[in-house]
Symmetry: C2
Subunit: 211 residues, 2 copies
C-alpha cells in the first residue's frame, strides 16, 4: 500500500553502485578521448587510438560511453563547456568591439596549440565529412548556428544602443567574425603559432570602425 512512497529509487541512480566499481575516472578518460578527436578528427580517430590514449580497453569504452559516435558527442560537450566557454563570456562585454576582441583573443587561447592540439574541433569535424559522419557533422553545424544566433542578437542590441555603425548588419558582422575565427582555426591546425594568430586579430581590430 505504501509502496508508492518508496517507488522512486529507479530515478536516483547514484544511490548504491552494487557491483564492482569501475577502475578509471570517466572524466579523465573523456578528456583523453577529446584530445584524440581534436587532433585526428572523428573519422581519423580509430578505436585503437582511443583505447591507447584513454588507457582503457574497448569493452570498457563501450560500457561507459556507448559507441564511438556517442563518445564523440560527449567529448564535444566537454570541449564546448571547457574550451568554448569564452564564447558565452564574450557576449557580456560592454561594447560590440569588446565583444569581437574577446571572441578573437579567446579563439587564440583555445586554438593555439600550447593547450591541447591546434585548431578547433568544430572546424575539423565539419570539414572532414566522410559519408559516415554525416550526423556528427549535422550536430556540429547545429551547435555553431546556435552560437552564431547569440552573437547576432548581441550585435543587434549593440546597434540599438548606437554602439555599432548603422551600415553594418548584425548578421553580416557575425558571419565576418566567425569567418575570421574559423580561418584562424584552419591556420592553427596547420601549425600557425600564437604570434601568427595574434597578428591576424590585431589586423582585424585595426580595421574595426573606430567611431
Amino acid at each position: 500500500m505504501e509502496i508508492a512512497v518508496t517507488d522512486a529509487p529507479a530515478t536516483t541512480p547514484c544511490a548504491a553502485p552494487k557491483g564492482r566499481p569501475r577502475e578509471f575516472c570517466v572524466d579523465t578518460a573523456l578528456t583523453a578521448a577529446l584530445g584524440v578527436f581534436w587532433s585526428k578528427g572523428y573519422e581519423g580517430a580509430t578505436m585503437a587510438d582511443l583505447t591507447q590514449a584513454m588507457g582503457i580497453t574497448k569493452p570498457s569504452i563501450y560500457a561507459a560511453f556507448g559507441n564511438k559516435e556517442s563518445l564523440f558527442h560527449k567529448a564535444l560537450d566537454l570541449y564546448e563547456a571547457e574550451k568554448l566557454a569564452y564564447t558565452r563570456e564574450a557576449l557580456q562585454q560592454p561594447t560590440a568591439r569588446a565583444v569581437a576582441e574577446y571572441l578573437m583573443r579567446g579563439a587564440i587561447a583555445a586554438q593555439s596549440n600550447d593547450c591541447g592540439p591546434g585548431g578547433c574541433l568544430r572546424v575539423i569535424t565539419s570539414s572532414a565529412c566522410g559519408s559516415e559522419g554525416e550526423s556528427i557533422k549535422a550536430d556540429v553545424m547545429k551547435r555553431r548556428a546556435s552560437s552564431q544566433a547569440a552573437l547576432v542578437e548581441r550585435f543587434r542590441a549593440a546597434q540599438a544602443e548606437g554602439d555599432l555603425p548603422a551600415h553594418l548588419e548584425p548578421e553580416a558582422l557575425t558571419a565576418y567574425i566567425y569567418a575570421l575565427v574559423q580561418g584562424m582555426a584552419v591556420q592553427a591546425g596547420s601549425g600557425a603559432t600564437r604570434a601568427d594568430l595574434e597578428r591576424v586579430v590585431d589586423t582585424s581590430l585595426a580595421m574595426w570602425p573606430t567611431r
Copy 2:
C-alpha cells in the same frame, strides 16, 4: 649513321600507342575524381566512390594514375590550375585593396557550391588529417605557403608605393586575408550560400582602410 637525327621518338610519346587504346578520357576521369575528393576529402573518398564517379574500374585507375595518393596529387594540380587561377590573377590588380577584393570575390566563385562541391579542397584536406594522409597534408601546406608568400610580396610592393598604410604589416595583412578566405571556405563547406559569403566580403571591404 643518321640514327641521331631520328633518335627523338622516346621524347614524343604520342606517336603510336601500340596496344589496346584506353576507353576513357584521362582528363574527364580526373575531373570526376577531383569532384569526389572535393566533396568527401582525401581519406573520406573511397576507391569505390572514385570508380563509380570516374566510370572506370579500379585496375584502370591504378594503371593510369598510380595509387590513390598520386591520383589525389594530380587532382589537386587540376584544382589549383582550374579553380585557384584567380589567386594569381589577383596579384596583378592595381591597388592593394583591389587585390584583396579580387581575392575574396574569386574565393566566393570558387567555393560557392553552384560550381562543384562547396568549400575549398585545400582547407578540407588540411583540416581532415588522419594519420594516413600526413604527406598529403604536407603537400597542401607547402602549396599554401607559396601562395601566401606571393601575396606578402605583392603587399610589400604596395606599401613601397604608398598604396598601403604603414601601420599594416604585409605578413599580418596576408594572414588576415587568408584567414578570412579560409573561414569562408569553412562556411561554404557547411552549406553557406553565395549571398552569405558576399555579406562576409562586403563587411570586410567596408572595414578596409580608405585613406
